[in-house]
């Protein structure tokens, strides 16, 4: 495909395992200098692990990395930086209480005392900012800046350290569509300056739009490396998943008339009195799934948390069945569950499970304060109640391996989530609040989980699904609420929404301003 001299980076037979889990198996491919190279694959396909090895965060078990045709021995990030490799991690590596300038200088201060070096660094950084149009304030603590701005700081940080090869790990998942446009523009400028970009993503549209070549990973192995111009979205998708994807016919019963959830003028503030949700209203009827869309950090999580009683309501009112939550009311999750509201939190290992415990103990987490627990004690008399119940739960919800004694953190993301959803459905809540139902979940489990949620809807329940995956919301929701900077940009009916329209609303365009797009859908 390319000759030796032109390739900036080459992997040869790189392998890496974590205990019994093989993350990368004999991975080999080349990245041409001065191109954007896409690296795609499902969650857990080994993309991030591979790039972390390139950046010196892990040592490979075997194989070698060549930079500019020469074998590179990268043991630490400082080796990587010396070799001109820069990485923008999915979770930013910024010290939030320090300013952008401090973050940029960290590790490359140029001497013991800072003093005059601050000014020198400031000039160099401003030059980079101007060249690529990456504006951000240098003297504000980074934590106070929006996520999109923080990403710019990360890119400039890599460039300030002299990166010639820039790795971007899922950079667009935190960006609005206009910000994505800007990022692609920056990538083109970088390539024009002779730099190389590796773009890690699972969004095929981005690959088609921005890359010259693309490598597909599946289960830690390279499926293929292709010229983007010579392939198609469908071919890439099949490569990622390993089989043809069928479009699922969406058949459903119409939802009922009864309103199960109504939220009126909800405002939620954090502990510093910053308004995260501003005056949001919506309803969910029986037999309906309401999707909540938005770039993460625009108030969706806080709506979910306020409804679950995990954050206080500042003003406005939440009604769910016979429950009412207003300002000053504190209602615990124990009471919500008793009164028929279930919650699947966004952060699975952080808030839904105890990773260090066996599955059996996790199978009753949150149930102890429901009347359902008493039926469990009646159904499984004896000391091994948790294990027996867990075994049944695992069978009913296809959790594999069905071993109640296995440590929870050893299960895959999909199996963990199946257990969580099964557990939450077990006490038959009438209203179900779900955050990121398929984050870190493999495709097979995604279908299972989606089918499950649709079944619950068809039983007449009211479901709210908060997700950053637009495709998921479109596949699952009957209506979609779009959030931007804590405000509702409007609620779209199934007949009104398209990926593009929701995307525009996520960037702050109102429902009305995007109205002509619904015609596009209709056509």
């Amino acid at each position: 495909m390319t000759d030796q001299e032109a390739s900036h980076l080459e992997f040869r037979d790189i392998s890496k395992s974590f205990g019994p889990v093989v993350a990368n198996n004999s991975v080999s491919f080349k990245v041409e200098r001065g191109t954007v190279h896409g690296l795609i694959g499902e969650n857990g396909a080994g993309k991030t692990t591979l790039m972390s090895m390139l950046f010196g965060l892990y040592d490979p078990d075997g194989g070698e990395v060549l930079i500019n045709g020469a074998r590179a021995d990268i043991k630490t990030p400082s080796d990587a930086i010396r070799l001109g490799i820069g990485m923008v991690h999915q979770h930013f590596m910024l010290v939030e209480r320090q300013t952008a300038l401090q973050n940029l200088m960290l590790g490359s201060e140029g001497g013991f005392w800072l003093g005059r070096r601050n000014g020198q660094a400031r000039r160099e950084i401003e030059a980079i900012q101007q060249r690529y149009g990456l504006e951000f304030p240098l003297d504000v603590p980074v934590g106070q800046l929006a996520v999109g701005i923080q990403q710019r700081i990360e890119i400039v940080k890599a460039l300030y350290r002299g990166a010639e090869l820039l790795i971007l790990d899922e950079p667009t998942s935190v960006l609005t569509p206009p910000e994505v446009e800007l990022l692609f523009h920056v990538m083109r400028d970088l390539v024009a300056d002779g730099k190389t970009v590796v773009l890690i993503t699972h969004k095929l549209q981005e690959v088609m739009e921005a890359t010259r070549n693309v490598t597909i990973l599946r289960h830690g192995e390279v499926v293929d490396t292709l010229r983007t111009a010579e392939t198609s979205r469908e071919a890439l998708a099949e490569g990622m998943v390993g089989r043809a994807l069928r479009a699922r016919p969406v058949e459903r019963k119409p939802c009922g008339e009864a309103v199960k959830v109504s939220v009126e003028n909800l405002t939620v503030c954090d502990s510093r009195d910053i308004r995260l949700v501003r005056d949001v209203s919506f309803e969910i009827r029986e037999g309906e799934i309401l999707g909540v869309a938005g770039v993460s950090g625009n108030g969706q999580s806080e709506i979910l948390r306020a409804m679950a009683g995990l954050m206080p309501v500042t003003s406005g009112r939440i009604r769910m069945r016979d429950i009412e939550i207003g300002a000053g009311d504190s209602i615990g999750l124990a009471e919500l569950r008793q009164r028929g509201v279930g919650l699947v939190p966004e952060d699975r290992l952080g808030e839904a499970l105890v990773g260090a415990w066996p599955a059996s103990e996790n199978a009753v987490l949150g149930l102890t304060r429901t009347p359902f627990y008493d039926t469990l004690t009646a159904r499984y008399p004896g000391a091994e109640m948790h294990s027996e119940w867990c075994g049944d739960l695992m069978r009913d919800h296809d959790v594999r391996p069905a071993d109640p004694a296995r440590r929870m953190s050893f299960f895959s993301g999909g199996n963990q989530q199946k257990l969580v959803i099964g557990r939450e459905l077990s006490f038959d809540p009438d209203v179900l609040l779900i955050g990121q139902p398929t984050r870190g979940v493999d495709i097979g489990a995604i279908e299972f989980i989606h089918d499950h949620l649709r079944q619950e809807r068809d039983k007449g329940k009211a479901l709210m699904v908060v997700s950053v995956e637009l495709e998921e919301l479109i596949a699952l929701s009957d209506r979609v609420l779009v959030m931007f900077e804590g405000r509702s940009m409007g609620v779209l009916d199934k007949s009104e929404f398209s990926e593009r329209r929701i995307g525009m609303m996520m960037a702050g365009y109102s429902k009305e301003a995007t109205a002509e797009m619904s015609q596009e859908v209709a056509e």
């Binding site: 990030p77 590596m93 910024l94």
Partner: protein
């Protein structure tokens, strides 16, 4: 208590604050780099023992100080390796060091000196000489002259050392690359790692400084205050230093002021004994309890607004997020 006592009282407060300052600044380095240090008490105690023993052999306080620092660094490094390399539970490790120190100092003391755990009393030559400036240029204003002489008198080189340590720490923390890296190391070690700086090395460096300062704190107790090592002579000062560090919000100058506050209540003790309020005698023990009560009150006030290093207490594993 009359007005003329105030300079003397302040001078005594400053003298009592020195071990607290050394220990609290030692804690500042450890914790800013991300290692919670409950073990200040034990390292002070071991430092005090080493100072007492070495100074009595060498007959020289500076050698005693060096001995205390060497022991401090050794123990800090062991603590550092167990915390960093073996990802131990930092709270448990600190507690363990305190308990080992209580036992080890007495055990070795009895084995060496057979004095019930005490080291031999230090002769004057083995103690730091006190400075006694006369401020003769103020002869015209005798009140001020005696006040200043009272305030400045009776201190040793270590008093100066403690204040210099605070000043240097301030400069290093806010105006050097070392401080920048240490802040990152305690707040978000993965950011430091991905910036190409070893988190482990940073923490070990911080622990070396921590050990030097703990040694100095112990040396002050044994050589300046006690004139020998006595069993359990720290009497909770390591924990008070930790409270000062927390209430001082991990900022050197504030930590210094809090240490002065603790020391002042301690210094007041000797003045307040025999005090009676509304004709009821205040028990001596109530006065002795003041620094401890004050520490609890201060901690209760601080709650919620702290600058505590975010990654403190969490072992760092490379590549983990």
């Amino acid at each position: 208590m009359d007005f003329a006592d105030i300079p003397l009282l302040l001078a005594s407060a400053i003298r009592l604050s020195i071990p607290l300052i050394f220990a609290a600044i030692a804690g500042l380095y450890a914790e800013r780099s991300g290692i919670i240090d409950i073990g200040l008490e034990g390292k002070m105690l071991l430092g005090a023992f080493a100072a007492g023993a070495v100074a009595s052999v060498a007959g020289n306080p500076y050698v005693g100080l060096l001995g205390a620092m060497a022991v401090g660094v050794m123990v800090s490094l062991v603590q550092g390796v167990a915390s960093v390399r073996f990802r131990g539970n930092q709270l448990v490790l600190g507690l363990a060091i305190n308990i080992i120190a209580t036992g080890l100092t007495v055990f070795v003391g009895i084995a060496l000196y057979a004095r019930g755990g005490q080291t031999p009393p230090l002769p004057d030559g083995a103690r730091f000489s006190a400075i006694a400036p006369q401020f003769s240029w103020l002869e015209g204003v005798p009140a001020l002259q005696s006040a200043l002489a009272g305030l400045a008198g009776g201190h040793t080189i270590l008093t100066l050392g403690a204040f210099v340590a605070v000043a240097v720490t301030y400069l290093v923390l806010y105006h050097s690359s070392f401080g920048l890296r240490m802040y990152a190391c305690g707040d978000k070690p993965e950011a430091l790692d991905s910036a190409g700086v070893s988190v482990y090395r940073m923490r070990y460096q911080a622990m070396v400084i921590n050990g030097l300062l703990c040694g100095a704190a112990g040396a002050y107790l044994a050589i300046v205050q006690g004139g020998a090592f006595y069993r359990d002579m720290t009497a909770g000062q390591g924990y008070l230093a930790l409270a000062a560090l927390i209430f001082g919000n991990w900022k050197p100058v504030r930590v210094l002021l809090v240490c002065q506050l603790f020391a002042a209540t301690d210094a007041l003790q000797s003045r307040l004994q025999g005090l009676s309020i509304a004709e009821v005698d205040v028990p001596v023990q109530a006065i002795q309890a003041m620094p401890y009560v004050l520490a609890i009150l201060l901690l209760a006030i601080t709650a919620g607004k702290s600058e505590a290093p975010l990654a403190g207490g969490k072992p760092y594993t490379k590549g983990q997020r």
